[in-house]
Amino acid sequence: MDAKYILQQALNALQLGSIYALIALGYTLVYGVLTMINFAHGDVFMVGAFLCFSAAVLLELPFVPALLFSMAGTALLGAAIERIAYKPLRRAPRVSAIITALGVGIFLESAMLALNPYPKSIPTLIDNVTWTFGGVTVSSLQLLIIALSLGLMLLLDFVVYRTKTGMAMRAISWDRALVPLMGVPVDRVVTLTFALGGALAGAAGTMYGLAYPVIDPYMGIMVGWKAFIAAVVGGIGNIRGAMIGAFILGGVEILVVAFLPSTYRDFVAFSLLLILLMFRPHGILGKTRAQKV
C-alpha cells in the first residue's frame, strides 16, 4: 500500500462523494423547509440524466446549454410534482406525503420505462483530459464534478441564508402556521423550493451521466437511497451537513474496498454509519428540535 495508491483512492472517494452530495443537497433542501422527505428526488435525478441525454443527442447542444436545459426541465418537473401531488396533502399526516412521494417516484420510473426501457449512452460533452502525476490519474471531468458540487453547495447556502426568498424558506420551516400571517406567500415559496430541488437533481443527473455514461430508468433508486442516507448522516435539513455526509459515505465506501475484500463494502460501510447515528441520532450537523405537543 503505497502513497500513490492511497492518493488515487482518495480522489475516487472525492468524486463519488461529490456525486452523492449533488443529490443529497436536494433531499436536505426540501426537508429543511417542509420537514418532508421527498423520495421522488432520486427519480427526478434520473429524469435529469435523460433530459441531458435528449439535449445532447436530439438537440445536439454542448455541455453548458445541456446542463441548463436539464436543470430547467427538472425545476419545472419538481414544481409540477409539488403542485399536483404534494400540495393537496400539505395538511395530511406526514406518512401520506411520504407514500405519495414514493408513488411519484414509481410513476416517473414507469413512465420512463414506457417511453424507453433501453439503457442509453450519453456522448462525451466535454473533452475529458487525464493527467498522470507520478502514477496518480486525475481527469478534468473529476475536477469539474467536485468543483460543481462545491459551487452548488455554496450557491444554495447563499440562497437560503442571504436572500429574501431564503429567509422566507427558513421562516416557513420555523413556523408554518404563523408565517402566512406575516404576508409571506407560502405557496409560492414552497413551489420555488421544489423547483430549486429539482434543478439540483437535474445538475446531479447531468454530472452523473457524464461520469457514468450509461443511464437507465432505474438509475435513481440506489444512488437516491445512498444520497438520502448521506443527508441523514450529515444531519438532514442542514446544507453543509449534506456535503459532509456525502463525502463520509463516499469515503467509507471507497476505503472499505481499498483495504478490505470488496464483498464487505456495503456491510462495513453501513455498519459504520449505523454506529455513527447511534452516537449522533440527528446526524453530524443536525440539531435536536423541541417537539411541540
Binding site: 488515487q8 483512492q9 426501457p117 449512452s121 455514461p213 437507465d216
Partner: protein, 390 residues
C-alpha cells in the same frame, strides 16, 4: 320417422366425410406456448431479441400450415409475459402461463437470475420450460438433491463449460500469466462464471492477482479498478452484463489501466457496442454463435431476421429460435400436445442442428452438449476469432 332416419343418415355421412379428411378439421385447437422475456428492466435488449425470435419461429410454423402433431396440423399460439427484470415477477409469470393460460410449454426467461425462480415453478407444476440463454448450472438442477430437474431444459451450454473455455483462452491464446476478475457478487450468472474461471485458470498454472466484486446497479467501480491497477494483471476478466461492461472498461481506461479485457456471453448484445463504443475495440468474449461464420442452417435464419427486424440476430435471438426448434421437434416426436409426453420426447431428443450448432441431450442431464465460440470486437463489430469444443 323417415325424416328422422334421413336426418341421421345425413349427419352420419357428414361426420364420416369429416373423419376421412382430418386436415379439414379446422377445429383442432391451437397449441399454446408461453414466453417469459426481460422486456423491461435492466436488460431490455435481451427481452426484445427473445420476443423477436419467438415471433419469427411461430410465424414460420403457422405460415407453413401449422405443426404436425399426431397426423393433424395445429397452429401455434404465443402467450408473451414480461418479467420486468425481476425474479419474483418471473416466478409469477410462469405461474400465470401454466395455470391461467394453460400453455403446453414455456420458453424463457433468459438471464439466470430470472430463469432459476421460474424453473422452480415449472418443475413443481410439471410443465416443460426451456431457457434459451441461462447458463447457470443451478437452472436445470434440483436445489435439494443436486440431481437434474425433470421438466427444465436449456438451449445453451453452462457456466462451468464457459468458465473453462475462457480460462483456457486467456492462458493459451492470450498467454496471460496473471488475471484480475471483477464481477457482480449479487448476480448468480456473474458469480458462477467467475468462480469456475478462477478455479480453472489457477489449475492451468496462471495466477489470479485480484478478485474484486460489486453489487447490481453499482455505477462506480473506481475503488475496485484502482486496486486491480495496482496488481498490474495481463488480462482483466469481466463476466458481467452488457449494460455494465462499458462503464467498467471506460473507468478502467480513465484510471490508466491498459490491458486486455475479456468477457463471457453476457457481452453478446449489439447494445454493448452502442454503449461502449471505441473503448471496447480489440477485446474478446466467449459466446454461443458467430453470425459471420454460421453453418448453412443458420444463414436462412440470419437473413430472415435481418429482413424482418433490420438487425443481425444476437445470441439470445439465435438461442430462442433454437429453443423453439427443440420444442417443435419434441412435440412432433411426442405425437400429442401433452406436457408429460413432450417432456419425455425432449429428454431423449436425438441430435438437433440449430442456428447455434449441433446439440444432443443425454438422459442424465438437461443441458445440451455443444460448442462455444470466441468473438473479438473489431472495427465496431463482433468478429469470429476461434471456437472451443466440449
Amino acid at each position: 320417422m323417415i325424416r328422422n332416419n334421413l336426418l341421421i343418415t345425413a349427419t352420419t355421412v357428414f361426420l364420416g366425410s369429416l373423419m376421412a379428411v382430418p386436415n379439414a378439421r379446422a377445429a383442432a385447437p391451437a397449441i399454446r406456448i408461453g414466453v417469459i422475456a426481460e422486456m423491461t428492466g435492466d436488460i431490455p435488449a435481451v427481452g426484445a431479441s427473445c420476443k423477436n425470435a419467438a415471433l419469427m419461429a411461430i410465424k414460420e410454423v403457422n405460415d407453413g400450415g401449422g405443426l404436425e402433431v399426431g397426423g393433424a396440423r395445429r397452429k401455434i399460439e404465443l402467450c408473451i409475459e414480461d418479467n420486468a427484470g425481476k425474479a419474483d415477477q418471473s416466478a409469477s409469470a410462469a405461474m400465470k402461463l401454466i395455470t391461467r393460460q394453460n400453455v403446453l410449454a414455456i420458453i424463457g426467461p433468459n438471464a439466470s437470475r430470472y430463469a432459476i425462480p421460474a424453473a422452480e415453478i415449472a418443475e413443481t407444476s410439471q410443465t416443460v420450460l426451456i431457457t434459451p440463454w441461462s447458463t447457470n448450472p443451478k437452472t436445470t438442477l434440483d436445489a435439494s438433491t443436486g440431481l437434474p430437474k425433470k421438466y427444465v431444459f436449456r438451449a445453451c451450454f453452462i457456466d462451468s463449460f464457459q468458465g473453462r473455455v475462457v480460462a483456457r483462452f486467456a492462458f493459451e491464446n492470450l498467454k496471460a500469466k496473471t488475471v484480475a476478475v471483477l464481477y457482480d457478487v449479487a448476480s448468480e450468472y456473474n458469480k458462477g462464471v467467475a468462480e469456475v474461471f478462477k478455479a480453472n485458470y489457477t489449475k492451468l498454472g496462471g495466477k489470479i492477482v485480484a478478485s474484486e466484486t460489486y453489487t447490481t446497479n453499482d455505477k462506480d467501480f473506481s475503488a475496485q479498478l484502482t486496486k486491480i491497477k495496482s496488481a498490474a494483471p495481463d488480462v482483466v476478466f469481466l463476466p458481467n452484463y452488457y449494460s455494465e461492461v462499458p462503464l467498467q472498461v471506460q473507468q478502467a481506461h480513465r484510471l490508466g489501466l491498459q490491458c486486455v479485457f475479456i468477457g463471457s456471453d453476457s457481452w453478446g448484445s449489439a447494445d454493448l457496442l452502442k454503449l461502449g463504443g471505441k473503448d471496447l475495440e480489440g477485446y474478446y468474449f466467449s459466446t454461443h454463435y458467430a453470425a459471420d461464420s454460421a453453418a448453412p442452417v443458420a444463414t436462412a435464419f440470419i437473413a430472415n431476421y435481418k429482413k424482418t427486424y433490420g438487425a443481425v440476430p444476437d445470441d439470445v435471438a439465435a438461442l430462442t429460435y433454437d429453443a423453439f426448434g427443440l420444442l417443435f421437434m419434441a412435440i412432433k416426436n411426442a405425437g400429442k400436445a401433452d406436457r408429460e409426453a413432450v417432456r419425455q420426447a425432449l429428454a431423449v431428443l436425438p441430435g438437433y442442428s440449430g442456428v447455434t450448432g449441433n446439440m444432443t441431450f443425454s438422459a442424465d442431464s438437461r443441458d445440451p452438449v455443444k460448442s462455444a465460440v470466441i468473438l473479438q470486437i473489431k472495427d465496431g463489430k463482433f468478429t469470429y476469432f476461434t471456437s472451443a469444443n466440449p
